[in-house]
């Protein structure tokens, strides 16, 4: 964090430039949408631009480009848990709780019935 007025004045120019860059990137996002790209490509482009914009806001406006290690530490922990949170629902795909693994299908059930008789 800057305390020296000369440094703050220099930062003001950076803030305005980043603000302008963010507006330009917003324009690019909308323009890319007008081109009607294929869905996977559109998702990739939109998320890359959003990530660049997010990084600019975090680094410059939130001063993360020069912060104390305690803040970086807490954010690294947050990112780790955030990634787990995003991928946790994928576990539901392999979730077999509540399903009968050895349950006979309709064909087996019928044949079983015949065998008993």
């Amino acid at each position: 964090m800057h305390s020296d007025p000369a440094e703050v004045r220099k930062s003001v120019r950076t803030y305005l430039m980043i603000g302008a860059a963010l507006l330009v990137f917003t324009g690019i996002t909308v323009a890319a949408n007008l081109v009607h790209l294929a869905v996977p490509m559109a998702i990739t482009v939109a998320l890359i631009i959003a990530s660049i914009k997010g990084a600019m806001v975090a680094a410059v406006f939130m001063h993360l480009n020069h912060e104390k290690k305690w803040i970086y530490g807490s954010l690294i922990l947050t990112v780790a848990f955030f990634v787990v949170l995003l991928f946790l629902p994928l576990l539901t795909i392999s979730d077999t709780i509540g399903t009968h693994i050895n349950a006979p299908g309709p064909a087996h059930a019928e044949s079983g019935q015949e065998h008993k008789d």
Partner: protein, 194 residues
């Protein structure tokens, strides 16, 4: 008794307590919105078809421009305090408040249009997650406006009695506001474009 480390930094963390506090709060906010983004991904992957073009891209883009501009005015409000330019600080903070209000008015028109067509959160999975995500984000905008209104109004007195502490408070408000902007930067493409 004075609360310690509101202006001076703690020797162990190198930070004022408020700064670490707001970052820990923002970390919890990341998890809150992260859970909803995760829900969005699961719903979208599991959906047979996903609506495209239901929302006005232009209205979303205008709101993005408004929020980015408000982030610039917010950081300028803090920088003006650092440069001891009080009237500029007031102007930038009021501008940020007004831009936040314009964002909400746009959102109101957007919601009203959908609801008039019977497109409420009950109408489809897409609209359910759209209203949930943007509604929660809107509540955060309201929260930010309440804090800004306090610092424009009664809270501004602190600038005379304890200017450094006031500057720190504006910085923490700014960190929160930039986070709200950051969330919208991801909400806009995810909901309006994809």
């Amino acid at each position: 008794m004075n609360i310690p480390y509101t202006v001076e930094t703690r020797p162990d963390t190198g930070l004022a307590n408020g700064k670490l506090g707001i970052w820990l709060f923002l970390a919890s906010e990341v998890m809150l919105f992260g859970a909803l983004f995760s829900t969005y991904i699961i719903l979208r992957i599991g959906a047979v078809e996903w609506p495209h073009g239901e929302l006005s891209v232009w209205l979303g883009a205008i709101n993005t421009v408004i929020l980015i501009s408000s982030s610039v005015t917010m950081v300028m409000a803090w920088a003006s305090l650092k440069l001891n330019e009080w009237s500029k600080h007031r102007l930038y903070l009021i501008l940020t408040f007004v831009l936040a209000g314009v964002f909400l008015v746009n959102k109101y028109f957007e919601y009203a249009e959908h609801l008039a067509l019977g497109e409420g959160p009950w109408a489809s999975t897409f609209l359910a997650i759209y209203f949930t995500l943007t509604g929660l984000h809107g509540l955060h905008i309201v929260g930010g406006m309440v804090v800004m209104a306090y610092f424009i109004g009664p809270g501004a007195k602190m600038a005379k009695t304890s200017p450094e502490q006031f500057t720190n408070r504006i910085e923490y408000t700014g960190l929160y506001w930039h986070f709200v902007d950051l969330v919208w930067i991801f909400l806009f493409p995810v909901l309006y474009l994809l």
